[in-house]
Point group: C2
Chain length 93, copies 2
């Protein structure tokens, strides 16, 4: 049925975006677990680049009509909260 195909693409898009988001969460978690280690200067750039990449995928999925803007924003804002928690932890350290 046509609606199965649309749902399939939609579900697939959401699961890909969540998987990519989880990869960034893991990067953040590794840093959180190793705060005492000297902060690798490139780490922030890696995180920024990955966040930019994910936001472009998100925007693409929204423009394709596969996810709503809100769904995209929810995934990104969750990550942004984790990122600012990491920045705070870095500053306190």
């Amino acid at each position: 049925m046509a609606s199965d195909i649309v749902v399939d693409h939609r579900d697939k898009a959401i699961s890909l975006l969540k998987a990519d988001s989880d990869k960034i969460l893991k990067l953040i978690q590794v840093q959180m677990d190793n705060l005492t280690m000297p902060q690798c200067p490139l780490y922030e750039e890696v995180l920024d680049t990955q966040m930019f990449g994910l936001s472009r995928e998100m925007d693409f999925a929204v423009r394709l009509g596969l996810i709503s803007e809100k769904e995209g924003k929810d995934i990104l804002s969750k990550l942004e909260r984790e990122l600012s928690a990491l920045h705070e932890a870095w500053e306190k350290n």
Copy 2:
């Protein structure tokens, strides 16, 4: 019909990727047309960032099964040829 929906998403994905690729081509063209002007140092970074963004969209569309890897590579390699022509022109200038 189910196949119309699949084709619709596929066509839409390809036209979005081509439109984004054309935006980068225009950025390159502007530089090519203004070679005598002092080269804006940030321009290369803007182009690199845009190329990275497009490659992430491309990869996402391939993983979604909306375009083939070859279709993605064809769009990107055309851009990369234009980019290296621009770099050559910069060096000669």
